[in-house]
Symmetry: C2
Subunit: 337 residues, 2 copies
């Protein structure tokens, strides 16, 4: 393993992106997400993602210097057209407007369109809870998940994320796929030559299968049966047609077999507790803390606690990555498209 | 079985409520919900609910002539204080304001406070999709569900409902508990002397149990493991502290052992596709129809289809209720608190 400080991690990511022609602002915005993922030990969203980012660039499926365009769509809606660039810069452009509209009106929405997406949604959610707001986020991906009762891919992994601000504490944040498991976990099983547990997916004929390769060619299942399937459909609708962007089937077609990072849209909703509650806000937010106490006192965990613990460790001691990944990244520093 | 026309069903419900002192507007609003539930063959939300409604009234846990108070809280928030009455009248009072705010601003929220709740959320969701809007609704209930990894009740059955309008078709609507099953289903097993399937709940010592009585004294589980548990917590937060209303633990304490219908709040969010999309709305809503086609063409079902089929049957042929329930309801027509 190779140990890097958070500063070294940031420099490495930024240098690779700049070397491959990303504009300075894209390189920094993407790097901030990669640093957050690696620091929190969400390895699939950390430095590892740089490999996919450069592959996506080589495939011509991301514009490395796209300038996001902001549209003040309605009093409580801001839309940002990422114009084929990575989502981060578009999110950064829309965030202050989303926050202002939410404080002005109580609830507001940010729609990001035509972006290439790879960020975990919690990275964005935490920026909204940092502003004292409640947040929800939804994004489709590329079709690989069948609806309950079916066997053909219609949904992506379609994550749902939620955040609740806590004064002086890490926020309550969850961010999960509506598929039973992340696609990456099935790929890891395939590479390791291991079977996947029953219930994760079906083969191309719709038969339940524990062969990871067969399920990747067939379809994954949603979590929680028909309920998870309903939620996956909701994600398609509100972060697809509602905002004028692609469904997961359409995003897969757009990808055209290049296996690039997904091109699509994202919907973020923010709510301001102070506008809902007025002067009684602190009293009611304290009751939320009682709810958290009731969960934790019985030994159950709040979501994201593992991530916050990893963050603390990483900020103190740096991060560790495998020699193989470090070597691949060093190659990216010298090879250019 | 006794067969009633939808008109007879409506008259029976309204007469019982008026006989027991509900104001004319409450009697009608509650009856509209009961008719919808019975007509759609959601029996637990149909005429059967009148028994619980009258019990709740006898226990002093609902105010039969409460007048809802409307607060124009923020440009995109309307709050309605139900003042201890059933939620329906408060929802009816807030709905036109929610619709107007959503059309004006693109997204808006309705918070209902201090209501007694028994309606299935889809009854409300459909009134919003009828206005061409997308809708989300959340409500806690009374604590009976443990967080994943714990064994003590913190959450209620905490439903989440969603609706998407479809031109010329029944809307896409789902409405499900974040508990693994409805509390009523466990009660039905107890009455029938049947075991419940493994995974539904734990006894008072936190041990998994298939004894319905033990689980009712212990705790139910959430659907979908930690993901369902996270969603249940979200419902507590956004329809509890965020709107200044009770959590499920607080609602159970307020009930004080009377086993009344739950007293708490509800959050409804509406989004206007036409404000998100402008002149391109019809084109993008057509892509949502392609999504539905992709689901149905492989034999999977959209949620609520069974309900819509029942509605069609009921409107043509009336509804059937058991002789026992009909007899209980006839008694309510003559007995007064």
């Amino acid at each position: 393993m190779t140990r890097l400080s958070v500063k070294e991690l940031e420099d490495l990511s930024r240098d690779i992106l700049l070397r491959h022609g990303f504009s300075v602002d894209h390189a920094q915005a993407v790097t901030d997400t990669i640093v957050a993922g690696q620091r929190d030990e969400c390895h699939s969203h950390g430095l590892y993602r740089l490999l996919g980012i450069i592959e996506t660039l080589k495939a011509g499926k991301v514009i490395p210097d796209a300038k996001p365009g902001i549209v003040d769509q309605a009093p409580s809606i801001v839309k940002v057209d990422a114009r084929g660039g990575f989502s981060q810069l578009a999110f950064d452009a829309g965030l202050p407007i989303l926050v202002q509209k939410t404080r002005d009106n109580g609830i507001a929405a940010l729609a990001i369109n035509h972006c290439v997406h790879f960020s975990a949604l919690w990275v964005e959610i935490e920026q909204i809870t940092d502003a004292g707001l409640v947040a929800l986020a939804f994004t489709p991906s590329q079709a690989g998940v069948a609806p309950e009762g079916g066997h053909k891919p219609v949904f992506g992994t379609n994550p749902i994320a939620f955040g609740w601000p806590r004064a002086g504490k890490d926020p309550f944040v969850f961010d999960f796929a509506t598929s039973v498991i992340a696609r990456g976990d099935i790929e890891l099983h395939r590479r390791a030559g291991k079977e996947i547990p029953p219930g994760w997916g079906v083969d191309i004929n719709g038969q339940p299968s524990t062969d990871p390769g067969a399920v990747l060619e067939g379809a994954m299942r949603t979590f929680g049966g028909h309920k998870g399937s309903a939620l996956a459909a909701m994600v398609e609708l509100v972060a697809g047609p509602l905002i004028g962007d692609l469904t997961s089937v359409e995003s897969l077609a757009w990808d055209d077999g290049t296996k690039s990072l997904p091109h699509h849209g994202e919907l973020v909703i923010a709510l301001d507790p102070r506008r809902f509650l007025g002067p009684a806000a602190d009293q009611h937010l304290a009751r939320a803390e009682t709810l958290f106490d009731n969960i934790q006192a019985q030994g159950a965990r709040l979501p994201s606690q593992r991530r916050y613990a990893a963050r603390k460790r990483s900020l103190e001691n740096g991060v560790e990555i495998s020699e193989a990944l470090y070597s691949d990244l060093q190659k990216l520093l010298v090879q250019v498209v």
